[in-house]
């Protein structure tokens, strides 16, 4: 019984967060810009694709949505407001958000249209680009919090937020978070030139699920960023959920705004950025954090 209530609460939190996210995102889209994951998709009419794979195409949005819903479980929205405090929460989040990539690849191939197949290739290349620096951005925080549990990470920042101690890690998280959520400079898989990729070949319920899943990814990335670097629900006077919401959407607005300052990068440029700059920066961050811990600097 308790499990069902938790599941409904988590789903409601995801849908609410995704709705607010798409509302916020609308502020950052101009007609001349690439829309990226907010590319137009027809929510009312299902689309008939003659050559589509009958199993893989519908599986895509379901898998992606399931991935975001599973990741939502370990996000602490307030003191006690968490689906389940897993002992390996941070690692769990990295793993289950990968299901969104899997869903996009499944639907991209399954639609069997040149544009979406191209989107499938770009999605996979982007996964290769972000996954290593993203892991390195988590590692610094985990080293200082001495735990993988999201609740323990929030507790460790009761005195001082990790953004103060690890500014480099925070910058790295901003960039890789944008890559992970396919937002502004890294929107190659949803580019206009391939007509929105997977979104262009979705309609009806699948378009709705894609909307929730893609907004949910950005919401999750911002929420996890707030947990990792901004102290999560910690804050004076006001209740925890208010601080968590405020930090999440402030971080999201910062990411979207910064992302729009740069021209969109192609997948090849993304890979070069990842392996030539972000990964060394991540390793440097881990080294610096290790030095701080050895010096006895703790929040």
């Amino acid at each position: 019984m308790g499990v069902i209530v938790t599941a409904i609460a988590v789903l409601a939190a995801l849908c609410g967060g995704a709705g607010l996210t798409s509302g916020l995102e609308r502020l950052f889209v101009r007609p001349v810009w690439e829309p990226g994951p907010v590319h137009a998709a027809d929510l009312r009419h299902p689309l008939d694709l003659p050559n589509a794979d009958r199993w893989l195409l519908p599986a895509g949005p379901v898998v992606a949505f399931a991935g975001t819903a599973l990741a939502m479980i370990v996000v602490p929205l307030g003191s006690g407001l968490i689906g389940r405090d897993l002992g390996i929460g941070a690692f769990y989040v990295i793993v289950v958000i990968d299901f969104v990539v899997l869903g996009l690849a499944l639907a991209g191939w399954g639609a069997n249209v040149p544009n979406t197949v191209e989107a499938c290739y770009r999605i996979i290349a982007q996964l290769v680009a972000y996954v290593v620096p993203l892991g390195l951005a988590y590692v610094g925080v985990i080293m200082m919090a001495r735990s993988l549990s999201t609740v323990a990470i929030v507790e460790a920042q009761r005195g001082l937020w990790f953004i103060v101690l690890q500014p480099l890690g925070f910058l790295l998280y901003l960039v890789t978070g944008l890559m992970q959520s396919y937002r502004a400079p890294f929107l190659e898989p949803f580019a206009v030139s391939i007509r929105g990729g997977v979104l262009g070949a979705s309609g009806g319920w699948s378009a709705l699920l894609w909307r929730i899943a893609l907004a949910g990814v950005l919401f999750l990335v911002a929420a996890i960023g707030a947990v990792l670097y901004l102290g999560g629900p910690n804050g004076p006077v006001l209740p925890g959920w208010f601080w968590m919401t405020l930090k999440t959407y402030a971080l999201m607005a910062l990411m979207l705004g910064l992302g729009r300052l740069v021209r969109p990068l192609s997948t090849a440029e993304m890979l070069a950025l990842s392996w030539k700059i972000l990964t060394p920066v991540g390793l440097l961050n881990v080294l610096l954090v290790g030095g701080l811990i050895l010096l006895g600097v703790r929040p």
């Binding site: 050559n51 009958r54 191939w109 040149p114 191209e118 996964l127 030139s193 090849a268």
Partner: protein
């Protein structure tokens, strides 16, 4: 965790693991084969989590979602018929038909485009040799002629292994529950007792990366045919929308002129 839930979870995970592996080896579509293998790994990861090794289970899922997706990219690159469309119409064993359900059989086109065969990535590869349409007359089957023998061998191996399991079922089973915080225990072991093995594995990965990059680099010999086969980036990428596959059905999705490139 109640007993009924555990049995149910074991049944589902075991079924996914075995059905995924079977589907991997019998389906006609290369892409599906990779997806089935991924499903099999996720099923095994479910079994790991049931066995209280949740860290290993999650590690397995993370490794193989990324790994299998990249492997699928390579399969699409090197296979004649990654979508299985040309073979879907051939006669298949029942199990193959079952795992290939939903694949649209399609004859190779006049223009030589198979299923997804025409992409910017492959273009430079196809320059100068027979390209994909050159293989029209050859045996397209994915399996070798020794397949029946292999199937019998696999059945024998499986029967012998399971027979041995049933014949000697008395393992010295210990009833204690493992520590729920397995991440901390594994971390301490990795950094203390097994540090040499851990660092050795890291070094092995580094050497593996170097080796893979060295092997995959285009050759520097002037008369090597692979010299021209730069696959990474086309200098002037082929417009994707120019593929001669039938346009999308549906309203206002068929204006395909004038949007090559950003």
């Amino acid at each position: 965790m109640t007993a009924a839930f555990e049995i149910l979870a074991f049944a589902v995970s075991g079924f996914v693991a075995i059905a995924g592996a079977l589907g991997m080896t019998t389906t006609m579509s290369m892409f599906r084969s990779g997806i089935f293998l991924m499903a099999s790994f996720i099923g095994v990861a479910g079994l790991f989590i049931l066995l209280a090794a949740d860290l290993i289970g999650l590690l397995q899922i993370m490794m193989y979602i990324g790994g299998m997706l990249v492997m699928i990219l390579f399969m699409v690159l090197v296979m004649h018929d990654p979508g299985g469309a040309m073979m879907a119409g051939m006669d298949m064993a029942p199990i193959e038909r079952w795992f290939s359900a939903g694949l649209e059989p399609r004859k190779p086109r006049q223009g030589g485009h198979g299923d997804h065969g025409d992409h910017a990535v492959q273009h430079t590869d196809d320059d100068g040799h027979g390209s994909h349409e050159g293989h029209g007359g050859m045996d397209m089957s994915m399996v070798t002629p020794v397949r029946p023998a292999a199937a019998w061998l696999a059945i024998v191996v499986g029967t012998v292994l399971i027979g041995m399991l049933i014949w000697r079922p008395a393992w010295p089973v210990v009833g204690t529950l493992p520590d729920p915080d397995s991440a901390a225990r594994v971390g301490h072991l990795l950094m203390e007792k097994y540090m040499i093995a851990f660092e050795g594995a890291g070094f092995l990965i580094l050497i593996g990366i170097f080796g893979a990059v060295l092997l995959a680099r285009p050759s520097t010999y002037p008369d090597d045919p692979s010299r021209s086969a730069k696959v990474a980036v086309d200098r002037k990428p082929e417009a994707i929308a120019d593929d001669r596959i039938a346009p999308l059905a549906g309203r206002d999705r068929d204006h395909r002129a004038g949007d090559d490139g950003l």
